[in-house]
């Protein structure tokens, strides 16, 4: 006669990340990170082609600049930028090392990081790519 409790097992829905905007932004952030690895491979291939000589290198560069690849690149680039921005947000939200007595609000840390990012980008333009 004693009743055994029958729990109803909960199953996560496959499209969970469409449930709210924050989950979706998270998935895009993660996708952005993966795209970065993809670009890492593209850059590696650029070095391979550079090593192989001018014609191989230029052929590869031309392939990158054909309209379909170029427009795909624009979309992926947006994800890379989103990934960078979310990374700056995460730094402020996590702060495993605290430099101030009170943790700074994440928006402040985000702002500092964006400024830093602009500075670093400028430095890259001059130091790596020889300026404008």
């Amino acid at each position: 006669m004693p009743m055994t409790s029958r729990e109803y097992a909960w199953k996560r829905r496959p499209g969970w990340w469409l449930r709210n905007r924050r989950y979706l932004m998270f998935q895009l952030r993660e996708a952005g990170g993966v795209i970065c690895a993809l670009y890492g491979l593209v850059l590696l291939n650029m070095l391979v082609q550079l090593r192989a000589g001018e014609s191989a290198y230029t052929a590869f560069l031309d392939l990158l600049r054909t309209p379909p690849v170029l427009y795909l690149n624009v979309v992926l680039f947006a994800l890379v930028v989103w990934h960078a921005l979310t990374w700056f947000m995460l730094i402020g939200k996590a702060q495993p090392i605290q430099f101030t007595r009170q943790p700074l609000p994440w928006k402040v840390v985000f702002g500092i990081n964006v400024l830093l990012w602009l500075g670093v980008s400028g430095a890259v333009v001059y130091l790596i790519f020889g300026g404008i």
């Binding site: 004693p2 009743m3 055994t4 409790s5």
Partner: protein, 449 residues
């Protein structure tokens, strides 16, 4: 010497979680989460454990033990407006009461003056301590009429009574949840409010939708604490060997007729430790484990009472929610802040009738697993016992003392009532008896401000 220590405005919260988390250190502590105790097992004049309903499994079990400690908190849900949680239905008090243990000083019910109407959420004393005003609808600091020397810093019982008098004089605000007074913090300014009483602002914003920096906080008195409870000595021992009680459930008599803030926590920490040691010592000394036969018998009896009896009743006119609200409103009106003979007599009679009507409360939910309608019925059963003890204890104390305020007997009467009330359960109304008060260092004197 400081009277109390604190952890910001969350003392009880931190004690609770520290105790719970630290309990995980000990493998031999076996928790029965979400078991609902329906009765004590009494064998040979001693408590031998409890019969409990496993809510998740929907079964009844007997849990045997040499020593049993009741730590179930208060009984605020007996009243309509209370700062207590929904589960504070006086279960522990009723369990001991049914096992023949008297309830002591049950008429001593503390009302806190500043609760949010509707929910009964408590706005801490600190709001007034930091300089908050209590005002009526004319914007007047009405406490000047009642306690000019202390104003808003007077004791809880006097502030609560002054509120009721203002309401009766027609100087209260009227809102969706009835009459209320205003707690004015606006003159303190945003800085002070945010620094000193952030929890007050958070609660009012979240649960009232108002910002105390710019608006009056609506407040009214609500039941907050019961000074009475299961009669125990300083070690938590009751008159039933093997049964202990502690905290708000118990009445050690450290609160007399009027509790001071934070003393509830001393009850938990100081008397909790004393009670635990006493119970452990008792269990160690007791040679034999309780017999299984008594437990089996009690289990069978409870299964029949709860599953075949209560759960078997068909739902009809009388509902658990209906009867509960009726009882709560009755207690609020007649056994509340102000009391007098005819109202108390009426309440005692009505509660007696409700006891009979309770037998007709039926249930719609027939499931055994997690049946919260069933637990609500069992809780109402407990509450009716406790309410009867409160009403009869109050009716028999024909004087005013501390939180117990009789309009027909406004004076304190030490000649006749410097004594503790004991309520014993009978098949009819409770039998009221008295025991003398032990006065040690501080002689009772008149309260003067």
């Amino acid at each position: 010497m400081k009277r109390t220590v604190y952890a910001a405005d969350k003392v009880g919260f931190h004690i609770l979680h520290t105790l719970f988390q630290t309990s995980m250190k000990y493998d031999r502590i076996h928790r029965f989460d979400e078991y609902f105790v329906t009765s004590l097992i009494v064998d040979g004049g001693a408590c031998a454990g409890v019969v409990a309903m496993n809510l998740r499994g929907g079964t009844m079990v007997a849990i045997q033990g040499k020593a049993t400690i009741l730590a179930t908190g208060g009984c605020g849900r007996v009243y309509e407006f209370t700062t207590n949680g929904f589960i504070k239905t006086g279960d522990g008090m009723a369990l001991a009461y049914r096992a023949g243990v008297p309830l002591k000083d049950m008429e001593m019910v503390q009302f806190h003056p500043t609760c949010l109407p509707g929910t009964g959420i408590l706005i801490t004393e600190a709001a007034r301590g930091e300089g908050g005003y209590l005002v009526n609808k004319d914007g007047e600091r009405y406490m000047q009429r009642y306690l000019p020397s202390k104003m808003e810093l007077g004791p809880r019982d006097i502030l609560s009574r002054a509120m009721i008098q203002e309401m009766k004089a027609g100087r209260a605000f009227e809102g969706p949840y009835g009459l209320y007074m205003g707690l004015d913090l606006r003159h303190l300014g945003a800085k002070k409010i945010n620094e000193r009483i952030p929890m007050v602002r958070e609660l009012v914003e979240k649960y009232m939708g108002l910002d105390p920096i710019h608006e009056l906080i609506p407040v009214r008195p609500g039941q907050h604490y019961i000074m009475g409870g299961v009669s125990t000595n300083g070690k938590g021992e009751t008159t039933l060997p093997g049964l202990y009680a502690v905290g708000e459930t118990a009445c050690v008599s450290i609160n007399g007729a009027n509790r001071l803030g934070s003393n509830s926590l001393s009850e938990c920490l100081v008397f909790g430790a004393a009670c635990g040691l006493a119970a452990a010592g008792f269990a160690k000394k007791k040679a034999s484990y309780p017999r299984g036969a008594a437990a089996r018998e009690a289990l069978k009896k409870e299964e029949a009472r709860v599953f075949d009896g209560v759960l078997g009743r068909e739902r009809a006119k009388e509902t658990v929610a209906g009867l509960r609200v009726e009882m709560q409103q009755l207690m609020e009106r007649d056994v509340g802040i102000f009391r007098e003979e005819s109202a108390l007599a009426d309440a005692c009679g009505m509660l007696g009738k409700m006891r009979d009507r309770f037998a007709a409360v039926g249930l719609a939910d027939k499931d055994r697993v997690f049946n919260t309608e069933l637990t609500a019925v069992l809780e109402l059963d407990f509450m009716l016992d406790v309410a009867l003890a409160i009403a009869h204890s109050a009716r028999n104390r024909r004087e005013s003392r501390g939180a117990h305020s009789r309009t027909d007997f406004p004076q304190r009467d030490d000649a006749n009532y410097l004594k503790h009330t004991l309520a014993f359960r009978t098949d009819g109304p409770p039998r009221i008896d008295y025991v003398p008060v032990t006065v040690t260092k501080w002689q009772p004197v008149e309260r003067k401000y």
